[in-house]
Every structure is written in structure tokens, then in C-alpha cells.
């Protein structure tokens, strides 16, 4: 079987994003954690796989194919802070965005789209807020809306950027259960995560990262004291610094 996500020799060095150097791994189906300290390049990795950041080199394949051929099977959940929550839009309209790929002529929603949206809103417990403007939502509710938007895409692979940040306890429990259910249904879910405490409880498989790949594999094998020291220690901090200087030299700054 083709791996849901395989990354080979990926290198990214881009103005304002943390850099990545020579990352290679092949992830199996399941619930996968992308772990590393701040500035390790976790979000950069996700963005590079989704084509939002241009890599210097490297190859990324989803289910053995390049993104352009399979983008409809992949759903991205950006960080909550990436959008303006004061934007005049209702909860329902945000979730409807996820149906964009399914919409008919002139992008009018059809009955199936309406029902998919209502169903997912109910699943994430946001039905009472359907017609509210998004500015009235709490952090946990915002995350639920983003989840619903990704779920209506009916994808096979989900990439979630820091979904656990700034959410309430109930949403956290809900999210963990949801991730498990998705994995049990044969989906693959990548979750960027920076809190080490719950990693072993949540994830089957882990990618441990700090500019370069520290380790990737089943959680018990990767989550060793040595690997964690390597990822969270200071030995890698020079790497990113040197890359940024190299970038400046190339630009002649």
C-alpha cells in the first residue's frame, strides 16, 4: 500500500518561517503527532506539504502522488490565529467553505452540501451557533468550527496545525476522541503538537523534529529520553541560526 504521506529530503529556508533541513520519513495510516519545540519548523513542514511554502528541494507525495493530483483527499486545519475572527461571516458559512470542492455550477450549495454542513455542525456541537457571527465564539468554539470545516471536505488525510492551543477542557477531550475515531475509520491525521505530556496517550506514531528530523516511528520507539534530549536540547539551535545567515548572504543583505 502507498504511504499516506512520504517526505524525502525536504529542505526549506524561507524568509520568516523556521527552516527545515533534509527531512525524510514515510508515515503510515493512523494518528500521527508532529512534535518539537518552538521554532522547530512543525508548521513549516505542514505548510510545505500543502504547497503554501516553497521548499528549496525535496519531494512530497500523498498516497504516492503529488499534491496537485490528490488535493481533494486532503484537508488542512490552519492555526486559529491565522484568520481575522472579526470578519463578517457566520459559523455556517465558514463550514460551507469546506464544501467548495464539492459545490455545483457557480458554486451554489446543493442539498447534499447543506446536509453535510448541518451534520458536521451537530457532530462538533455547534448547532446552536449556526447563524452566529464568528466574532462571538470562544477559543474552543473557534477550533470546533475549523474542525467542522475540514470534516465536510470528506478527506482521507487531515493536517492540523496546533489544534490544542487555547481550547477548553471539554473541547480537548472532544478533539482527542474525534481524532481517534477518524484514525479508527482508516483516515490519517497529522497533528502539530508542542505539549509533551499527553503525546504518549494520544498518538500511535510520532515525528520528532527540530530543524532536522530527530526520529520518526511508533510512539514507544521514538519517545526515548535520548531523542527528547536531542530534540529539545540546544545542540540544534545553531543550525537554524546558520541557515538564516546563509539566506541573508544569498540575498546580499
Amino acid at each position: 500500500m502507498k504511504h499516506p504521506l512520504s517526505v524525502s529530503q525536504l529542505t526549506v529556508n524561507y524568509d520568516n518561517t523556521p527552516s527545515l533541513w533534509d527531512i525524510s520519513f514515510e508515515a503510515p495510516q493512523g494518528l500521527i503527532g508532529l512534535i518539537g519545540p518552538n521554532g522547530a519548523g512543525k508548521s513549516t513542514l505542514i505548510k510545505a506539504t500543502m504547497g503554501l511554502v516553497e521548499p528549496l528541494s525535496g519531494k512530497i507525495l500523498f498516497f504516492g502522488k503529488p499534491l496537485a493530483e490528490v488535493y481533494q483527499r486532503i484537508a488542512y486545519v490552519p492555526q486559529r490565529e491565522s484568520v481575522d475572527w472579526d470578519y463578517p461571516i457566520t459559523v455556517r458559512d465558514v463550514v460551507m467553505m469546506g464544501r467548495y470542492g464539492h459545490l455545483g455550477l457557480l458554486k451554489w450549495p446543493r442539498q447534499a452540501d447543506e446536509e453535510a454542513v448541518d451534520h458536521m455542525l451537530e457532530l462538533v456541537g455547534m448547532t446552536p451557533y449556526t447563524h452566529r457571527q464568528i466574532s462571538q465564539l470562544s477559543g474552543g468554539q473557534q477550533q470546533r468550527v475549523f474542525l467542522a470545516r475540514a470534516l465536510v471536505q470528506e478527506a482521507d488525510l487531515y493536517l492540523m496545525d496546533e489544534p490544542f492551543i487555547g481550547i477548553d477542557h471539554a473541547t480537548e477531550t472532544f478533539l482527542i476522541n474525534l481524532l481517534r475515531t477518524l484514525a479508527a475509520k482508516g483516515k490519517t491525521v497529522f497533528v502539530v503538537h508542542h505539549d509533551l505530556n499527553a503525546v504518549e496517550k494520544i498518538f500511535d506514531w510520532v515525528v520528532l523534529l527540530n530543524v532536522r528530523l530527530v526520529a520518526a516511528g511508533p510512539t514507544q520507539e521514538v519517545f526515548t529520553a535520548d531523542n527528547l534530549r536531542a530534540a529539545y536540547g540546544t545542540s540544534y539551535s545553531l543550525l537554524d541560526e546558520a541557515f538564516k545567515i546563509a539566506l541573508q548572504k544569498q540575498h546580499g543583505v
Binding site: 467548495y100 457557480l106 458554486k107 457571527q133 470545516r149
Partner: protein, 441 residues
């Protein structure tokens, strides 16, 4: 003058219908620009059209002589304006992307550079073709009153184009303005959508400068959308409200520029239509900023004052409860605990009596049964919160009172129930004072 005359009279229908169409298209594009936080781009691009206007007019003058027809002239000028607006946009992109200049500085540079070139050209034209110069000046400050049926036709066409594009691509526009990166991941060609937005902006500006002028154009783009933003809860309602405000401002601008001089019976006074439209739109925008139900400054102030008043009322009930819920008290006793003027206290006591919380007779104040319950409830919330702060939030005993003074007016029944559960239905607060039990209330 009859209102219908504005739409049917051969002299007035040109300006009225023409400006309404122009405002509609400008405002719809403005709404998108506002959401993208690019309001100043409109300002820069409208000024960039000036050299285009001058060159277009000069070219038409050279090719067709002084007797050039209005239609030909308009087409030359509009084309020149569009070309230079596009060049201005390219300039902004170059400064931001290649020279890494911050957006505000880039806009400022382009605005003054292009406008400066325009002024230089214009002063040359002024001496060579003085009649053309009049035409050029018209675009600088706008001259809606001289618009004809030809303008209605031209602007209807252009406005229809803008409206169609906005309506057909509204989903893409919404996606790209709300969450550009996400839009890319679900297969929206963001580059194309952004190119369309630029094209629409240039189109809207070119349509608009004839009636409100280069200098005031950006107000026409932004004011209706800014007003609508105060009320809109969805992308579609934003577009609808923006369109309404725009059409209303255009009509009122025309109406007032004719009716005010007539009303004042001052034949010499003339109010130009373009600036009048901008003024109306700005006043509507200001009105929305002040009075919109959710975000308006005035209503927020009213709500704040009402909350403060409620706190005061509740504090007085609380004081009476603490002084002895079943006994009578005097104003002087209350004033020992609450700092407010005697006059103000009298007013509030009257209100509380009117609402049935207490009874007043000859200066004696006594809580009613309902008042006793409400006073006790406030004390309960106060003491529950203090206990919560000390036991669950680890706050020092001496520091919790002030916070509880505020929270006693805020805590909802749901939070109260949760506190009761969390603290195991407590009987005493951290200061060993009894917490009034819930059953009694």
C-alpha cells in the same frame, strides 16, 4: 421638485442614475478591499489615474482637434486612466515585493509620484489646449451634474460587469479574503482571484472619477462598506448593506445638492453633487459607527451606564440586607456604606420601591420579601466567589473582596450552580461569614 423627476427628467436623470450606478459598483469593490485591509490602495490607485486622464485628453485633442465629441473624449480619458491605474498597481507591487518597502510607504510613494507626473502634464496642457484643461479638471474634482444619457449607458454597462463578477465569484472572494492559505489548499486559484480583485478595483475607480473626482474617490470606495461592516454578520449581508448605503448616498447627494439651495432660496449658492455624495456617505458611515446596535459607540456607552446603575441598585439592596433584612433603616445608614450623593440615593430608592424591592415610609426603608431574597442572593454570590478564589485559585484572603465586589453583579445562574457543586455547597466564606443558602432564596 418631485422625487420621480430625478429619475425621469432628461436633465436630472443623467447625474442621478449615473452616480447611483457608479456608487454601487465602487462600494461593492470597496467592501472587498476593506476586508483585505487594503483601503489605502484605492486612494493610491485613484491618484495614479491622473496622468492617464491628462494624456488621454491630450491624445484625443491631438487626434481629433478641438471639436472632439464628448463620447470619444470620455473613452480616451477612461482608457488612459485605466492604464495608469494599472501601472500604479504594478509600481506598488514592485516596491513591496522587489524592494521590500513597507506597504504604507509604497502606497505613499506611488500616490505622490503619479499624481506629480499628472500635475506636470496638466500644466503643459493648460497652455497648449486650454479647453481640454477644463475637461481634465472635471476629473480631478468630479462633475456629476453634467452627466448625460451616454454616461448612464456607459456606467450601466461597467457597473453591471462589476456586479456580475462580484456576485458570480462571491464564494471565491469570501474564501480568499477570509482565509487565503486555506483557500489555496482546497483548490481555489488565489492568484487569479486576486488579479480579478485588482481589475475590479481599477474598473470601479475609472467609473467613479468622472462623478466624484480623483481626490474624493477613495471615500466612495470605503465609506459605504465601513458603514455596512458595523451591521453585517455575513459576507452576503455585508455586500447587500453596502449596496444599499451606496445607492442611498448617491441619491441623497443628488437630492440635497439641488434641494438645499432651493430651500434656502439662494440662487447664487450651488452645491456640487460629487462632494455632496461623499459627505452623505461619510455621515451615514459615522452614524453607523456611533449607533449600530452591536458595535456602535453610543449604545455601548448606554449599556455600560446601565450596568453601572444596576450595580449601584444591587449594592444598596445588599447593604440593606446586611444591616438587617427584616428591620427598617434610614438613608444615613446606607450612606455610611455606599458612596453616592443623597439626591442620587433618593432617586435610586424611589426606583427600587417602584420595582417592588423595598418599601419607603417617612424616611424608613424596609426590604420587601422579594428584596430580601435578591439582597441575600447578591451576598451569596459575593461570598461564593471569595471562597472560590481562596480555595481553587489560590488567592490570598485579604485580596479577594475587591474582585468579588465586581463579580457579584456578573455571575450567571450557571456559574453559580457550578461554584456550588465545585465547593460542595459551602456554608461559610473565607472570612467565616455565613453564605446565605440557596434553598431560602
Amino acid at each position: 421638485m418631485n422625487i420621480l423627476d430625478y429619475f425621469f427628467d432628461p436633465i436630472f436623470r443623467g447625474p442621478t442614475i449615473g452616480t447611483m450606478l457608479m456608487c454601487l459598483s465602487a462600494a461593492l469593490v470597496g467592501a472587498i478591499v476593506l476586508l483585505r485591509r487594503q483601503s489605502l490602495v484605492g486612494e493610491a490607485l485613484s491618484h495614479s489615474t491622473y496622468p492617464g486622464v491628462v494624456l488621454g485628453a491630450a491624445l484625443a485633442g491631438v487626434l481629433f482637434g478641438e471639436s472632439v465629441s464628448n463620447t470619444t473624449m470620455s473613452i480616451f480619458i477612461l482608457t488612459g486612466a485605466a492604464i495608469f491605474a494599472f501601472l500604479g498597481w504594478c509600481g506598488i507591487q514592485f516596491l513591496e515585493r522587489s524592494l521590500h518597502i513597507r506597504s504604507d510607504a509604497a502606497l505613499c510613494l506611488i500616490l505622490s509620484l503619479f499624481f506629480g507626473i499628472g500635475v506636470t502634464f496638466a500644466s503643459d496642457v493648460q497652455f497648449a489646449y486650454s479647453s481640454l484643461y477644463m475637461q481634465i479638471q472635471m476629473y480631478l474634482f468630479g462633475q456629476a451634474a453634467t452627466m448625460t444619457d451616454f454616461h448612464i449607458a456607459l456606467y450601466s454597462l461597467l457597473s453591471l460587469l462589476v456586479i456580475t463578477i462580484v456576485v458570480v465569484f462571491q464564494r471565491e472572494l469570501e474564501l480568499v479574503t477570509f482565509d487565503r492559505q486555506y483557500a489555496k489548499t482546497i483548490g481555489v486559484r488565489t492568484f487569479l482571484v486576486e488579479a480579478w480583485i485588482t481589475l475590479l478595483l481599477i474598473l470601479a475607480i475609472v467609473i467613479g472619477i468622472r462623478s466624484v473626482g480623483i481626490v474624493l474617490m477613495s471615500a466612495m470606495l470605503i465609506a459605504p462598506a465601513a458603514a455596512a461592516r458595523q451591521l453585517a454578520t455575513s459576507f452576503r449581508s455585508l455586500l447587500t448593506l453596502t449596496a444599499l448605503v451606496a445607492v442611498l448616498s448617491a441619491f441623497l447627494g443628488n437630492y440635497l445638492s439641488i434641494e438645499i439651495p432651493a430651500l434656502l432660496d439662494a440662487g447664487s449658492l450651488s452645491l456640487p453633487t460629487g462632494p455632496m455624495i461623499v459627505l452623505v456617505a461619510t455621515v451615514l458611515c459615522l452614524f453607523a459607527l456611533l449607533f449600530s446596535p452591536g458595535r456602535g459607540v453610543v449604545l455601548r456607552l448606554v449599556r455600560r451606564l446601565r450596568f453601572r446603575h444596576r450595580c449601584l441598585c444591587e449594592n444598596i439592596l445588599k447593604t440593606l440586607w446586611k444591616l438587617g433584612a427584616r428591620e427598617t433603616h434610614t438613608k444615613a445608614e446606607i450612606l455610611q456604606y455606599q458612596s453616592l450623593s443623597k439626591w442620587h440615593l433618593t432617586l435610586i430608592l424611589r426606583q427600587l420601591q417602584w420595582e417592588g424591592w423595598l418599601s419607603l415610609s417617612k424616611g424608613n426603608i424596609q426590604l420587601t420579601h422579594a428584596g430580601e431574597q435578591r439582597g441575600g442572593h447578591i451576598v451569596r454570590l459575593h461570598r461564593l466567589w471569595e471562597l472560590y478564589l481562596v480555595t481553587c485559585a489560590g488567592a490570598g484572603i485579604e485580596r479577594v473582596h475587591r474582585n468579588a465586589e465586581e463579580m457579584e453583579h456578573i455571575l450567571t445562574p450557571e456559574i453559580e450552580a457550578e461554584l456550588t457543586r465545585l465547593l460542595h455547597n459551602p456554608q461559610k466564606d473565607p472570612h467565616r461569614q455565613p453564605i446565605p443558602p440557596q434553598e431560602l432564596l
